[in-house]
């Protein structure tokens, strides 16, 4: 039985800072006005929250871990009605938060292993939380590799983190863009093509994959060709969600619900769901 007490009614939070990331993507830093149960807000990397934009509606968004104790952040792309309304908000405006919901990343199971991240576009948002966790506990993991693809160099998420990661010892970054611009001296092409070229450990390795469905399928094919087991490929899925607590069933995929059984699945699980991702 869950101990979360905001399953239906959101808690009010204040936006303290807004940061432009790339085109149509912003990060919103917020803190709670006062928790209804008086306890600190805690969550696991890979979980998500339902965020209310008052007067517009509610949407599901992954919640990256925060370096600060009382301040949290959400990185959101402007796509639909509610996220567009969120992008209109200013510092000091209120949002509603329900959660955290979902299972989170299985960090205990992957200790001592090599970790590969494959992200397409804003697929880096949920993976960044996992990357930061692994970076902070680097001694517990083997090699760490990041493969990142974006449409253009301007659409590479978290430039500041990328520069930091590139410089970090023991962290291998491979970045590619579909449409290079003059001055781009990196790789071009889709992200799965990078996997073939790079020297990738397969034994004792876990791959985290997140991105649009087309990219996901191409990457999975590449990884299984390389010899990755189905349990060693982990992804976090996205679905239309309304309640977050396993009741509205909008996020059902196969026999599972992404909100309570996911959003983190292994490829073996995804394969048995019998539905498109």
């Amino acid at each position: 039985m869950s101990e979360i007490n905001n399953t239906t009614i959101p808690e009010i939070a204040t936006i303290e800072e807004i940061k432009d990331e790339i085109v149509e993507v912003k990060t919103f830093y917020f803190s709670f006005d006062g928790r209804t149960d008086g306890k600190p807000f805690t969550f696991k990397s890979g979980q998500f929250v339902m965020c209310t934009v008052f007067g517009a509606g509610e949407f599901a968004v992954s919640l990256p871990p925060s370096p600060e104790k009382d301040r949290f952040h959400l990185t959101v792309r402007k796509v639909g009605k509610v996220t567009s309304a969120l992008h209109e908000l200013k510092t000091g405006d209120k949002v509603g938060i329900r959660g955290p919901f979902g299972n989170g990343f299985p960090f205990d199971d992957i200790k001592g292993k090599n970790v590969i991240y494959v992200a397409g576009g804003i697929g880096l948002i949920p993976l960044r939380s996992s990357i930061m966790h692994v970076m902070q506990n680097k001694d517990k993991f083997g090699r760490i590799l990041l493969f990142l693809g974006a449409r253009t160099p301007q659409e590479l998420m978290y430039q500041y983190n990328l520069n930091e990661w590139k410089a970090a010892p023991g962290f291998e970054t491979h970045i590619t863009v579909d449409n290079p611009v003059p001055g781009w001296d990196g790789e071009t092409g889709f992200v799965h093509t990078l996997l073939k070229k790079a020297d990738i450990p397969v034994k004792d390795t876990v791959a985290f994959v997140c991105g649009p469905p087309v990219m996901f399928n191409a990457v999975i094919k590449e990884l299984t060709d390389l010899g990755f087991g189905e349990d060693c490929i982990i992804s976090t899925l996205e679905r239309h969600m309304k309640c977050g607590i396993g009741k509205c069933q909008h996020c059902s995929i196969g026999r599972t619900l992404v909100c309570t059984d996911g959003p983190v699945y292994t490829y073996r699980q995804i394969k048995t769901l019998g539905e498109q991702i």
Binding site: P10, I12, G57, H240, K247, Q249, H250
Partner: protein
Amino acid sequence: MYIINKSQVLDIARELQKEHQVYGPVMEKETRQVMFVAVDDIAELDLSAPIPAVPPKHAVFPHFERIMSYTYDRRNKKVEIKPDYDEKPKALFGLRSCDLTGIQCLDRFYLGQEFVDEVYRNHRKKMFIVTNTCNAPFRQCFCVCTDSGPSAHEGYDLNLTDLGDQYLVEAGSEQGKKMAERLSLSKADDSHRKRKEAIVDKSVSMFDSIAKDNKAWISRVVNRVTTGLIEEKVWEYIGDQCIECGACAFVCPSCSCFNIVDPVTGIDSADRMRTWDSCSYEGYSRMAGGHNPRKPVEDRRNKRFFCKLSYSQSKKYLRPGCVGCGRCAWVCPGDIGLPNVVTYIRREIQE
């Protein structure tokens, strides 16, 4: 077990009315359509009326309901949220056993999983349920196949059975027993119980042979749906007949999907509404940005029957999701009510 004269049976409803909003079957005079609705005049209730067109699930899960309202003062950056749960005591009077089973499915799904649904819990908190044994099946009923009728076994406070001149009243809970005692009902004896058994046996025997033949088939179909061994062409055949009206979900006693919207009610106020939703709608799984993992209609039809017939979903209900009321078969403009889908899959197995 107690006995009440037929002419006095509505006294139970009158007694319930003192503390509850009573819901029951009412036949509309002109159309002769039976609806299960909230009533103020107990005399309108009709225990002999056929199965209502729409199940009573709206008493615990309304078509649309406000779950909270809020104001957001943009200038002063102030938000106030007011939860709006419906805690009114309600009494469902003259429920058929299939519909009671539907409510039990909803109970197990909304209250028995990882999270408890607060909105539903409040509807259910102060409820009194009086069921009514079906002396004869209505058109397209097949509760004998799904183990949900014609008489309720559990989950009621009082169960009524028409014995001709009298009603047998069985108490299924402490609350029901107290009610029977408050009405000073006279005790029934063994002969009454035997009369009820004979009535139920007769009722079972009146079900279409097709409905009874399907009994064994349903479990085989459950097996097929769960293991995914049904050929794509069967789902396509089923999908071709679906016009995506959503009627099957709205008349289903165990369908529980809902949508949530925030309609604006003023310059700086809005409501959060819950509304019924159906997995047959194209927008059901469509995400912001337009990606829809369940675009073809057969993928969506497949989902509904998966929900009603698969083992994994049955684990949530502790029984199959279908309660055998047959309403989906009445309302479907195509020919894909649940009994027919069972038949199509059955035909494939036989081939």
